[in-house]
Structure formats: structure tokens, C-alpha cells
């Protein structure tokens, strides 16, 4: 067996977080969310409900959006993790970040890192071809301030859909 742990011992874990490879030790009951916030000090990823209902903890694991609160970190040994801190590019904000600012797609901002990571996952998946599909495919991210309309606007901006639609009208 590749790994075996008795209840007191931590295990070796390899992760690439925002492009940097790290080898660390972790107890098997530590969630990816707690690991990112407490060991990596990447507090952009938020602990909202801690039960997979709000989406504030959304990060990309091997390019796919997931709820980091429901993942035992040890179970993703070898994975590449991207958090909201890893989205910005050398020459400035990620297009989604810029669009969220432009469209005022938040109020209190607590859900925003999860919304942006989730939107990045949505764009990569490529299954959202209409406003209704964007709304449905962003339904795993709750916004108590109710910025949903502007969030969908921001995503449409990045897809170029809104510009195309307005040009056609």
C-alpha cells in the first residue's frame, strides 16, 4: 500500500499551489480548505458554510472547480491547485477579475473569490452558451448580497457574448 497512517502520524503530501510545488506533511483529516488557509496562508479562499452549500471555498483542482471544504487534502496528492490568488497574470488582473470590477459584480465581497474561481471553471468547461446556462452553472455559488445579475454580466463580458449580442442588435 502506498500510504498508511495511524491516527497520530502525518503523511507526506505533494501539491502544486498556484504554480509552486510544495512537499509538506499533513494529517489525513485536514481539508484542502483548511490547508490552503492555515498552512499556505492563502486566505482568499473563504470558509463560508464549510458543508458544500455556499461555494465560497471554490478552487480549481487540476483545472476543475470543486468545493475545497469537502476534500481531504491528502486525497489529492500530486494535484495542481489554483486559488483566487493564482488567477492574476503578470500584466494585471485576470479578465474575470477585471470584469467583476467593471460590472460591480459584488457588494460585501465575501463570496467573490469563490465566484471568480467558479466562473473560471465554467469558462474552461465550455458548456454555458446562454444566460440561463450561465445562471444554472453558477448555482453552486451563493451571494447573500444578491449580485447575481452583475456576476452573470461579468461572465458574459469575458465570453464576449454580450459584445456580440449588442453588435447584432
Amino acid at each position: 500500500m502506498a500510504q498508511r497512517s495511524q491516527s497520530s502520524s502525518a503523511l507526506e503530501l505533494n501539491l502544486t499551489v498556484n504554480g509552486t510545488r510544495r512537499v509538506l506533511t499533513v494529517e489525513p483529516w485536514v481539508t484542502l480548505l483548511d490547508l490552503l488557509r492555515e498552512q499556505f496562508q492563502l486566505t482568499g479562499t473563504k470558509k463560508g458554510c464549510d458543508q458544500g452549500q455556499c461555494g465560497a471555498c471554490t478552487v480549481l483542482v487540476d483545472g476543475k472547480r470543486v468545493n475545497s471544504c469537502l476534500i481531504l487534502a491528502i486525497s489529492r496528492d500530486g494535484a495542481e491547485i489554483t486559488t483566487v490568488e493564482g488567477l492574476a497574470q503578470a500584466d494585471g488582473l485576470h479578465p474575470l477579475q477585471a470584469a467583476f470590477v467593471e460590472r460591480d459584480a459584488f457588494q460585501c465581497g465575501y463570496c467573490t473569490p469563490g465566484q471568480i474561481c467558479s466562473a473560471a471553471g465554467l469558462l474552461a468547461e465550455g458548456h454555458a452558451h446562454s444566460r440561463a446556462e450561465i445562471r444554472e452553472q453558477m448555482s453552486g455559488n451563493i451571494c447573500r448580497c444578491g449580485a447575481y445579475t452583475n456576476i452573470a454580466d461579468a461572465i458574459e463580458d469575458v465570453q464576449g457574448r454580450r459584445a456580440r449580442r449588442e453588435a447584432a442588435e
Binding site: W29, Q51, G55, N67, L72, S75, S118, G140
Partner: protein, 338 residues
């Protein structure tokens, strides 16, 4: 969360050994339900067997013209797989009606079958629950029970199975491949989950130490006349109050094959083969649909707050049959029910 022994086997045989070795050992795949239950101290496995390194991520053609889906195929990969979309659109639709994109990216095929009820009392260790702690009683019977069962419930338990995907798999006559220490076996989907009776702690008929390795779909996918209609408290990201999967074959204006499976109403996806048999040869019209709904719900009863489900289920069955027969399956994005 309780402390546990963590094992990460590389082979199916090592995994089965690890699961058989300690009573209460749990397999960990996506973790979307198990980790949540562990945080609430509802699940306290002494050993967690991480099966993510097992070679169970393929979707393969079978000799019989169907598909064999590895237990670790994610719900997203399954729902968007071109073979599933083309040949089993009912399954794709049901998967996309459930959970959120983030959860579907992590959740697996095997794990979906093993997800546990969302009964509030099951989730709350400070209350009695025969499913969580056998013999302690059922707090839901006289408690908040609007999401609970109207069919097949017992005095011990009125919980419902929460899956959408499983309702479609039941309708499609899938089979479940299991591997145990003593060998492998294949279980028809209708015999995989069970009714609570006096042992609600058992959601299914798996034996201790067994592992789901695959779910197999038969060749017949019902590509023309199908729908998955899910009714819930909000438009997205909520469990079904009632859901209905319908798959029909219609030839020369008559039904030649019918499958009707209900979700959100019982401890397992609910089907009645006698009624499906009765539908053969009938004209797919309102009279047939209403008769089917009445027959399916014969014996259904509420426990108070969930009484509304009786009428809701009736209407949802009729509506779903209408959608399927008209070849206008429910759209899982626009949500407008026609």
C-alpha cells in the same frame, strides 16, 4: 471529525482487503458526502480507504452494446460524455438536475449510489435516528417531515434517498458491479437500494467489505421519448421534493415499453413493473398518464407536513409522461416546466 486510519491502496484487491479488515471502514472517493458526514460526526469510520488511485475511471463499451461506467468516473464527466449524451440522454439530464457543478466535478458514480439521506434528524447526532443509531427511534415521524417519504416507509424510518442520478439509473435498468473479498457479483439496480423496514441503517444490499467497481447500462437507452422532471423548493441546487424519470418507446401511436421511476418519495428510487407492463399497448394520452399516476401512488401516504407530496407527485408523474411522450424533455437550464 473523528481520527481515523488512512489507507491508499493502488489495486482493487488491496482496497477490498482494506475495507474488509476493519468493521465500519469506509471507502473515500470524491468525498462530497462522506467528508460532510464526518464533520457532523454522523459518520465516524475507524478506517478510511482512499480509492482514488484505483483504475476505475473509464467508460467502456460492453459486448451487449451498452456502457460500463467505472465507479470513479465523476458525475460531470459522465453527464457530458458524448456517448452518454447521445445514447442515454435521460441519465445526462438527471445528473445535471442534481447538486452543483463543483459537487458534480468531485462526486463519483459509485459515490452517488452510496450518498445518504438528507433527513435533518439523520444529520443531527443530538436527536434519535434509527438509521444513524439503530434502536433509538425516529424523530422525523413526529417532527419536521415535509421532505420525507410517502411510499415504502416503515415505523422505523421515513427517510428518502436523495439522488437524481439513481432515479435515471433505475429507469434504465442499470446493474451494479461489486467486488468483495470472496469474489465479484452483479446486482440489478432495483435490488441495490432497499426499503427501510426494521433495518434502516442499511441503505443498500452491499455486503460488508464490498466495493462498487462499475455501473453498467444495457443497450436500450430511450433516446426519443424521455424526460427527467425534478420539482424542488428553489430552481437550482436543491434536493428533489418529487422527481420523475420517464423513458418510453412509442410505435404506431402506442406505448411499447415504459419506465417510470420516482425520486424524493421513498428510501430508494421507486418503480412498479406491473404498472409499466400495463402501459404497454396503451395510447400515450392523458387518460393513460392519469391512470399510471393513480396506480403508482396507490398506497402512498403522508405523515403530516409531507401530505402535499401526494398531489405534487401525481401532477409531476402526469406532467413528466406528457413531456416524454411529446419528445420534449425537461430543460435543466431554463427550468420552465411545460
Amino acid at each position: 471529525m473523528n481520527r481515523f486510519e488512512y489507507l491508499r491502496p493502488d489495486s482493487i484487491s488491496d482496497a477490498v482487503k482494506a475495507l474488509s479488515g476493519v468493521p465500519g471502514a469506509q471507502a473515500l472517493a470524491g468525498g462530497t458526502n462522506l467528508v460532510d458526514l464526518m464533520k457532523y460526526d454522523v459518520a465516524k469510520p475507524p478506517r478510511v480507504v482512499d480509492i482514488n488511485r484505483l483504475p476505475l475511471r473509464a467508460i467502456e463499451e460492453t459486448a451487449g452494446g451498452g456502457l460500463k461506467i467505472g465507479a470513479l468516473v465523476s458525475n460531470s464527466d459522465l453527464a457530458w460524455d458524448s456517448r452518454i449524451v447521445k445514447r442515454y440522454p435521460l441519465l445526462a439530464s438527471a445528473i445535471l438536475a442534481g447538486a452543483s457543478p463543483q459537487l458534480r466535478n468531485a462526486a463519483t458514480t459509485g459515490g452517488n449510489l452510496l450518498q445518504r439521506t438528507r433527513c435533518y434528524y439523520f444529520y443531527d447526532p443530538s436527536t434519535p435516528c434509527n438509521k444513524r443509531e439503530p434502536g433509538t427511534g425516529c424523530a422525523a415521524v413526529d417532527g419536521v417531515n415535509r421532505i420525507h417519504a410517502i411510499l415504502g416507509a416503515s415505523e422505523s424510518c421515513i427517510a428518502v434517498h436523495p439522488s437524481d442520478m439513481c432515479v435515471a439509473l433505475a429507469a434504465l435498468d442499470a446493474t451494479v458491479h461489486l467486488q468483495g473479498a470472496d469474489g465479484s457479483r452483479v446486482v440489478p439496480f432495483s435490488e441495490f437500494h432497499r426499503l427501510p423496514a426494521d433495518q434502516p441503517q442499511h441503505d443498500n444490499t452491499m455486503r460488508p467489505g464490498e466495493l462498487i467497481t462499475a455501473v453498467e447500462l444495457p443497450a436500450s437507452g430511450f433516446v426519443s421519448y424521455y424526460t427527467y422532471l425534478k420539482i424542488r423548493d428553489r430552481l437550482s441546487y436543491a434536493f428533489a421534493l418529487v422527481s420523475v424519470a420517464v423513458a418510453l418507446k412509442i410505435e404506431a401511436g402506442a406505448i411499447t415499453d415504459a419506465r417510470v421511476a420516482l425520486g424524493g418519495v421513498a428510501h430508494k428510487p421507486w418503480r412498479d413493473r406491473d404498472i409499466e407492463e400495463w402501459m404497454r399497448g396503451k395510447v400515450p394520452d392523458e387518460e393513460t398518464f392519469v391512470s399510471c399516476a393513480e396506480a403508482l401512488l396507490r398506497g402512498a401516504k403522508g405523515v403530516g407536513q409531507n401530505n402535499f407530496k401526494l398531489e405534487l407527485a401525481h401532477r409531476t408523474i402526469v406532467r413528466a409522461l406528457r413531456q416524454a411522450a411529446a419528445a420534449t424533455p425537461q430543460d435543466q437550464s431554463s427550468k420552465i416546466v411545460r
